[in-house]
Amino acid sequence: MRRGSGTAMKLFEYEAKDIAGKFGIPRPRGVVVETPEEARRAFESIGGPVVLKSQVLVAGRGKAGGIRFANSADEAYSVAKALLGSEIKGEKVLKLLVEEKIKVKRELYAGFVINRASKSYSYLASTEGGVDIEEVAERSPEKIVRGDVDPLEGLKEYEARYIARKMGYRGKQLVELGAIIKRLYDIAISYDGELIESNPLVETEDGSFVAADMKLIIDDNSLYRHKEYEARAKVPGPELTPLEARAKAAGLAYVDLDGYVGIVGNGAGLTMATLDLVKEFGGEPANFCDMGGTATVERMVEALEIVLSNPRTKVLLMNVLGGIIRCDEVARAVVKVKEKMGFAKPMVIRLVGTNEEEGKRILAEAGISSFDSMEEAAMRAVEFARGA
């Protein structure tokens, strides 16, 4: 069973643009490069001013200096040299997308996102693009065209044209922009997009439209039908900490936090509530770790080892409400880890549910005390941590 991980499957700009190109969305001419020399050749093949864009997954690369221009092959070389290998918000730049510089008349926004309330895709479009669209929506809602797409019908070409019309376009531009909007939707459907957007979608000086930037986030539950990205999804991305990466590989839902109470629970809600209780009692959680409702002994052991190996963790708080998971198996997993890792860090175990007595007996034999109440356990864990 797949477990939700800390991140979704975000594509690099150049990957999203390759898909856009396949679907017939106009994009700037461009080349992906990995060396300054390639950047120089890219400039020459494009034959004019270029923009060099760091291919990273973190947001805000522009403000962080990850997007720069070059007016000559030499400049392209030196800019590429500066960008490649640098870090943007902690993410190393391994590739650049070198593109022709577009003559911008206006920057637009167009995108589709899963809407929880309407249980459908919502479209969002605006003639004020190139900026944070949520800000535009808040500041100038009249500049936003939005609506829902009937999931059974899909977005029709004529609805896409209606959106273009509401953005104020007519004639050939309306038809072209409508086609781009329709294709964005087609990509969303084809790639199980949680979010797809072109921001900015540029209206050029000659009146045509070019997707100057593209973002596509794939629903990671759908990756089995997108084999080309499935393998990459298994490789931990640069946005994961080492422990998060290890947990992901083990199929655990794990998030690193800044505190010192290591937490393992079964079930997302119960685990979140355990974190909340730790905070409530004045402690700080070191992590979120949900083993899931059906974890095997191996997975429990892995969860415990990951949490205990976090140097920030001063105390382990485990909260299990056994249902399908049996308390005796949980207890055995705890004892196993204790034996393997030694008793360096104190463990506070809350254990109720299926085979509860057997589980408690096993823990008691190993000299580990357990609690019935998760609140008591959380309080004790915070006390331990403070004492430690």
């Binding site: 069973m1 797949r2 477990r3 939700g4 991980s5 800390g6 991140t7 979704a8 899963i114 929880r116 309330a117 249980k119 459908s120 895709y121 949520e134 009937d150 999931p151 059974l152 459907i189 199980d192 949680e194 629903d219 539950n221 759908s222 089995y224 039908r225 839902a253 998030v255 936090l257 629970g265 079964n266 079930g267 997302a268 809600g269 119960l270 685990t271 979140m272 509530a273 974190l275 909340d276 209780l277 730790v278 905070k279 409530e280 959680p285 979120f288 949900d290 899931g292 409702g293 409400l321 056994g322 249902g323 399908i324 109720v352 549910g353 299926t354 109440s373 998760m374 609140e375």
Partner: protein, 293 residues
């Protein structure tokens, strides 16, 4: 009475021959749920736990008159199974699987809406009307028949809170796991509406978590409709950072949307009793119910 499932619920188990399906069929039958048929394509004619297995839902409806379903097929096949049940008009349909692609859920839910069918889940422990019908995978012993309606986005946390209610002498009319995914069949509002019209339900417990704005819209609904029954709420995830999925696919703070603070404040504005610890739900509801007598 109870909502959505009761003693008249005639249950189909889709995917009954699988490990999970057969295991839970036993537990459902032990609980007294009327499990009348199962489906598993190509396994028709066999039996699981004494329950006849059919190849298609349509046969199960024709021959056994089932009217509700619990679906144990893996996430990848949930769409097809759900559509088969929807087309047959079964309701509610409980989708257990975690990891159903969100586009599949979107289509399932739209189709169910069109046909007037109730979907519970995906990624849900299911629904239980204690003493009448269990249509889920929850540990039955923590629940007791009574007058508190429970709706939750979580699994184990629901058991925790239900156990607390039961210990406090507060039984439950119906407990519904809405599901931990971003798109699920029932919202808090849908469930509040059901509980409002259910005579047996005297008070409601809502168990929310970070992500989306289902709690906020529920709070608005409570204000707008001057909701007539006491409501207490717990929201998990106050300690969660933004931008990270906390176990559930739906439990994520996106930008400024979906924080626990926003939800808790909305509930407070709506006069909902807000519990800071899971155990407080029982205490607050007990007070409210005693006060209302």
């Amino acid at each position: 009475m109870a909502v959505l499932v009761d003693e008249n619920t005639r249950v189909l188990v889709q995917g009954i021959t699988g490990r999970q399906g057969s295991f839970h069929t036993r537990l459902l039958k032990q609980y007294g749920t009327k499990v009348l048929a199962g489906t598993s394509p190509g396994k028709g004619g066999s039996e699981v736990e004494g329950v006849p297995v059919y190849d298609t839902v349509r046969e199960a409806v024709e021959e056994r008159g089932v009217n509700a379903s619990i679906v144990f097929v893996p996430a990848q096949f949930t769409k097809e199974a759900a559509l088969e049940a929807i087309e047959a008009g079964l309701s509610p349909i409980v989708l257990i699987a975690e990891g159903v692609p969100v586009l599949d859920s979107m289509y399932i839910l739209a189709k169910a809406r069109e046909k007037g069918v109730t979907i519970i889940g995906p990624n849900t422990p299911g629904i239980i009307s204690p003493g009448l019908c269990k249509l889920g995978i929850m540990p039955a012993h923590v629940f007791k028949k009574g007058s508190v309606g429970v709706a939750s986005r979580s699994g184990t946390l629901t058991y925790e809170i239900a156990a607390g209610l039961t210990r406090a002498g507060l039984g439950q009319s119906t407990c519904i796991g809405l599901g931990g995914d971003p798109l699920v069949g029932l919202s808090f509002i849908d469930v509040l509406e059901l509980f409002r019209n259910d005579e047996e339900t005297k008070a409601v417990a809502l168990i929310g978590e970070i992500g989306g704005n289902a709690e906020e819209t529920a709070a608005e609904y409570i204000i707008k409709t001057k909701y007539p029954k006491p409501v207490a709420a717990y929201v998990a995830g106050r300690a969660a950072p933004p931008g990270k999925r906390m176990g559930h696919a739906g439990a994520i703070i996106s930008g400024r949307t979906g924080t626990a603070e926003s939800k808790l404040e909305a509930f407070k504005r709506a006069g909902v009793e807000v519990a800071r610890k899971p155990s407080e739900i029982a205490i607050k509801l007990k007070e409210a119910l005693e006060g209302s007598r």
